[in-house]
């Protein structure tokens, strides 16, 4: 009984701030500012309409989705063979390399801010989604390698050896036999790459000005520039929860594993 109550209280407090944002997104700015109300008096979708009709708002979402998609595909694609190598073989400097990848996942983004600005300007990628996608590989590639390595180490090595004895070449074995065996891991990894790229603001904001401005930056800049349109801000925030909310059910058993870099 006490357990239930404690759990219920925790969940209620978790959802209170989330509820409040959704609640605000359904009210007009006048109503928000004029009075305090637990339940919207006259729920309206006007704030969402603003977002879906104003290019500077929905463009932000499109920009974010573009670089997040590029980043996820790129991170998983390069991490797959590397994770296989780490889980199956010993090679010169493997431990140092694995550790170096970890330090990149953990390092503060602020350190890379200025060099990234110069690097991506000098290669002509500044203010493009590709620059943000590449910048996010700094932490997502190590993340993907670590998570995938955790999943791949759970697949018995006898499977590889049998396949090679049966005359499978490495690429054919990898695509036909091994990938289907670790498909859960690939899905979970893609989900986490997606989430971390979607959630990151510092690089995304610094590496873009106009053309590739992500939704996160649109939100902060609108707050400071055009006064406070709380309703639209809340609606924009609510919409950012949609992608994660859609897929979470499928990865429910792997959330802890993903955040713990595949080590749980």
């Amino acid at each position: 009984m006490v357990r239930r109550a404690w759990l219920g209280l925790f969940l209620a407090l978790t959802f209170l701030p989330l509820y409040w944002m959704v609640n605000m997104s359904l009210r007009t700015n006048q109503e928000i500012v004029s009075g305090f109300r637990l339940v919207p008096l006259d729920p309206t979708l006007a704030n969402y309409r603003t977002i879906f009709t104003n290019p500077s708002w929905y463009g932000g979402y499109l920009n974010s989705l573009t670089y997040v998609a590029i980043n996820t595909v790129l991170s998983v694609a390069v991490a797959l063979p590397a994770a296989y190598a780490f889980s199956r073989y010993r090679f010169l400097g493997d431990k140092h390399l694995f550790f170096w990848l970890l330090t990149n996942r953990m390092s503060p983004a602020a350190v890379f801010l200025l060099p990234f600005l110069e690097l991506y300007s000098s290669v002509g990628l500044f203010d493009t989604p590709l620059a943000v996608a590449l910048a996010h590989t700094l932490f997502n590639v190590p993340l993907a390698v670590w998570i995938l390595e955790g999943f791949m180490s759970g697949v018995p090595r006898e499977i590889d050896e049998t396949a090679y004895l049966d005359g499978f070449s490495f690429p054919r074995f990898f695509m036909r036999i091994f990938l289907p065996l670790v498909r859960t891991g690939v899905g979970v990894t893609a989900f986490f790459c997606f989430m971390f790229s979607w959630a990151e603001l510092l690089f995304a904001r610094t590496l873009t000005v106009v053309d590739a401005k992500p939704i996160a930056a649109t939100m902060t800049r609108t707050v400071s520039a055009a006064g406070m349109d709380w309703g639209v801000l809340a609606a924009a925030g609510t919409l950012t929860l949609v992608p994660g909310g859609l897929v979470i059910w499928f990865v429910r058993n792997y959330i802890a594993k993903g955040f713990a870099l595949g080590r749980v």
Partner: protein, 294 residues
């Protein structure tokens, strides 16, 4: 299977090559740039002077940095001290074993994980609209209760709000880690404890807690690392203020780097910032690889 049994194969380098190229482009070039800047005084693009350790000395003597460092350590310690016991206590309440049906467990997991999926800047926005006294539920309730609460003006209130925000955001991670650890404990352990007539506390102290040491270690390290480099959430919520009361290391650094373009000082600071992170990473790495070997 222990890593000792892995065959040696230098050709595996071809498989890790794409990762190396990509991460080297993203990590090595910028890092060298930082090292380069940290020992020079760049007056103009054509005029640069080698200054040796001067920037490092000046950064280490900077009282603002000392203050930011102090706040950072205090913040990390406070959130760890709250999130770990809280997360553990919630995880112990979750249904598990044959008694708790699986869909209930899944539903709880998904609901608890919700804050983890919120983009970090939106975490700031959520707490901004929640904690404001004029339009926010939390702020309004505190005001009704007679607390003269205003996180934008009072440093203590700002601190409290940032800590509560972080607890809200990241305690779910500790819950999920502990829950994963608890579910891995074999049912027979509890059976044996029941035969011995062990109290609930004894079960926790002598069965559950030792079995959770692995996930708790991961939890401590991850939460320390992430709170030590926190930037986005306080930036959106308080902007580091009032004054500089909630300016943590990352924000201090980004102000130096892209706010004031103080290249030398920012670069020297960056390299110093790396030190504690490398140490914690090393501890994490050692513990992880040791656990997998045993």
């Amino acid at each position: 299977m222990s890593p000792h049994a892995k065959p040696r194969n230098e050709r595996a380098w071809f498989l890790v090559l794409p990762v190396c190229v990509l991460v080297a482009f993203n990590a090595l070039i910028p890092l060298m740039t930082v090292v380069n800047y940290s020992v020079q005084d760049i007056v103009s693009p054509d005029q640069r002077v080698f200054v040796g350790w001067e920037w490092f000395k000046s950064v280490l003597r900077d009282p603002e940095l000392h203050a930011a460092f102090g706040r950072q350590v205090l913040f990390s310690v406070v959130v760890l001290a709250i999130e770990l016991p809280l997360g553990l206590s919630v995880a112990l309440c979750l249904p598990r074993g044959p008694g708790g049906s699986t869909w209930q467990a899944s539903l709880c997991t998904v609901l608890i994980a919700m804050p983890l999926l919120v983009p970090w800047n939106v975490v700031g926005t959520i707490w901004q609209v929640f904690a404001r006294t004029d339009i926010g539920l939390g702020g309004a309730v505190l005001t009704k209760l007679g607390v003269d609460y205003n996180y934008a003006l009072d440093p203590v209130h700002a601190w409290g709000t940032v800590v509560v925000m972080d607890v809200w955001h990241w305690t779910p991670l500790v819950v999920l880690l502990c829950y994963a650890g608890l579910r891995a404990i074999p049912e027979t352990y509890y059976g044996a404890a029941a035969v011995d007539g062990a109290s609930r506390w004894a079960v926790f102290r002598y069965i559950e807690l030792p079995r959770l040491s692995g996930v708790l270690t991961i939890g401590v390290l991850l939460r320390f690392m992430d709170s030590f480099v926190i930037y986005t959430e306080p930036f959106v919520l308080t902007g580091g203020g009032p004054g500089s009361s909630t300016t943590f290391l990352s924000q201090h650094l980004s102000t130096l780097a892209v706010g004031q373009f103080d290249l030398g000082r920012a670069s020297a600071f960056s390299l110093i910032y790396f030190l504690p992170i490398l140490i914690v990473c090393y501890v994490f790495y050692t513990l992880m690889t040791r656990e997998e070997r045993s």
